[in-house]
């Protein structure tokens, strides 16, 4: 975050607080350009970057909150999030918080993500076991999987796909960012 600090401009405290509040008012990652648009044209981008540096330093010392820098469509974005260390406390307050994903759920989600549109029958064929309806229910309730309509084949099976929430929650920019499925097989020297 401090790679630009040749002679860092000194951001006024008000600007640091403004950037902090703007980030907290936008739970989705915000780009420097968007921050500039909100702060106003008369503030140089370098000054906003300096304010972000300052914030990063400040939250580095915070036990539960951190400033994330992530790349979205090739452009750096920032957002303030709570770290995993907050998880046990949130769980204590709300036992209904999403349970951890089982292997079966992760494999089902992976097939939906990589192979969409995919039907339940195709998921079962790939995993070699029946799909537990609870798993699809869980994935739908978390807003990661949705129906893409029905396939025009006998039985009109439902086609499943992933949602935008899935990308956001897993921090994936777009489906193109998923690693190539064919290359995920165990022995790299095999071409099948």
């Amino acid at each position: 975050m401090s790679h630009r600090r040749h002679s860092p401009p000194e951001p006024p405290e008000g600007l640091v607080e403004l950037v902090e509040a703007l980030l907290l008012a936008h739970p989705d990652p915000v780009s420097l350009e968007a921050l500039g648009g909100m702060v106003g044209q008369e503030t140089a981008p370098a000054l906003i970057e300096a304010a972000l540096d300052r914030l990063a330093d400040r939250y580095e010392a915070h036990r539960f909150i951190q400033l994330n820098r992530l790349t979205r469509e090739g452009v750096p974005h920032w957002r303030l999030v709570a770290s995993a260390s907050l998880a046990p406390y949130l769980k204590a307050g709300d036992p209904g918080r999403p349970p951890r994903l089982t292997r079966a759920a992760l494999e089902t989600l992976a097939l939906v993500a990589w192979r969409q549109p995919i039907t339940r029958g195709e998921i079962e064929a790939a995993r070699g076991v029946a799909v537990n309806p609870q798993i699809l229910k869980q994935l739908t309730e978390r807003g990661w999987v949705r129906s893409l309509g029905h396939r025009d084949t006998p039985g009109r099976p439902e086609m499943l796909g992933t949602t935008r929430t899935f990308l956001q929650d897993f921090g994936i920019d777009s489906l193109d960012e998923l690693p190539d499925f064919e290359r995920l097989a165990g022995q790299d020297d095999i071409d099948v």
């Binding site: 509040a21 907290l24 008012a25 739970p27 909150i65 994330n68 303030l80 999030v81 709570a82 770290s83 995993a84 907050l86 998880a87 949130l90 209904g96 918080r97 999403p98 951890r100 994903l101 292997r103 079966a104 992760l106 494999e107 989600l109 992976a110 097939l111 993500a113 990589w114 790939a126 995993r127 070699g128 076991v129 029946a130 229910k137 739908t140 309730e141 807003g143 949705r146 949602t163 929430t165 956001q168 929650d169 897993f170 921090g171 994936i172 998923l178 690693p179 499925f181 064919e182 995920l184 097989a185 165990g186 022995q187 095999i190 099948v192």
Partner: protein, 281 residues
């Protein structure tokens, strides 16, 4: 959990060097260490996600080239595991037995001379389909492992948010029907909705009718009961309307009025207090 560690098995180091012995009989390959407590063994066995997972584990454990599976040996081991799982009273999905049958079939076809084919192509390897399915499943486990490694919301990070300032008009959020239905499902799953509202199988049409009756009483002036029934809706419609009116009366949202015995009944909305929310335009 990454797929690599998974396929060496959670307790591999403890049983690799064990005396190979099942039911007292020494065996060429013993699946499991007798020192593993029975409970832990059962839990470990239950972790297999199905026949493909179990097969893949056996293949990876012995560093077998997946394209050159020694079917006879692998089948034997597979069946040993199945026996072990049965002996631990683990309920085996039908797919495990289907796979056993398939493996046995492949094994016997391997013993036969290759079927003559019409064209000049190489004879089909009886294992080809099995290999393809194993590879596909392995890709799936790797993909799942990759997903699991991504920093995930509500596990590795949590969204933080302050409320918008009071003076700012709310931004026009887009309508999201999937999200809405998902939210209702979540509430139902948590069970809170049922407890709080004694939700019987109360059809939505009753709810809708309750809203439209309240709409009809917007003015606050009484209106004859008959106004609210629509004969064209038939008996079902009248029933829905009656239930809606009774429900509204029960919750004291509306009241009845009858000037004389056997006279016409009117409905009126209970006195309208200060309305905090703006009316729909």
């Amino acid at each position: 959990m990454s797929s690599e560690t998974r396929h060496t098995g959670p307790s591999s180091s403890r049983w690799e060097d064990a005396t190979p012995r099942v039911s007292g009989e020494p065996m060429e390959q013993l699946p499991l260490d007798l020192y593993i407590p029975v409970d832990a063994l059962a839990i470990w066995l239950e972790q297999f996600e199905g026949p493909l997972d179990l097969l893949l584990y056996l293949i990876r454990k012995h560093n077998i080239d997946i394209l050159e599976i020694p079917v006879a040996r692998v089948t034997e081991q597979y069946l040993e595991y199945l026996e072990l799982m049965k002996s631990m009273a683990i309920e085996l999905a039908a797919e495990y037995l289907l796979m056993a049958a398939w493996l046995t079939e492949i094994k016997s076809r391997m013993l036969l001379p290759p079927e003559p084919r019409d064209d000049e192509e190489e004879p089909l390897d009886p294992r080809a389909e099995l290999v393809e399915r194993l590879l596909e499943y392995e890709r799936t486990t790797r993909a799942a492992g990759w997903l699991d490694e991504q920093p995930r919301r509500d596990r590795d990070w949590f969204a933080l948010e302050i409320d918008p300032p009071p003076s700012l008009p709310a931004p026009p959020v887009p309508a999201d029907l999937d999200g809405l239905i998902g939210a209702m499902k979540r509430l139902l799953r948590e069970g809170s909705v049922k407890q709080a509202h004694h939700v019987r199988a109360e059809p939505l049409s009753v709810r809708q009718r309750m809203t439209s009756i309240l709409d009809g009483l917007q003015s606050g002036r009484p209106r004859p009961l008959a106004d609210f029934f629509r004969p064209e809706e038939g008996r079902m419609g009248i029933a829905v309307c009656t239930v809606a009116i009774l429900e509204l009366s029960r919750t004291r949202a509306i009241d009845w009025e009858q000037d004389e015995p056997y006279g016409p009944v009117s409905l009126y909305r209970v006195e309208v207090g200060p309305v905090e929310l703006e009316e729909d335009a």
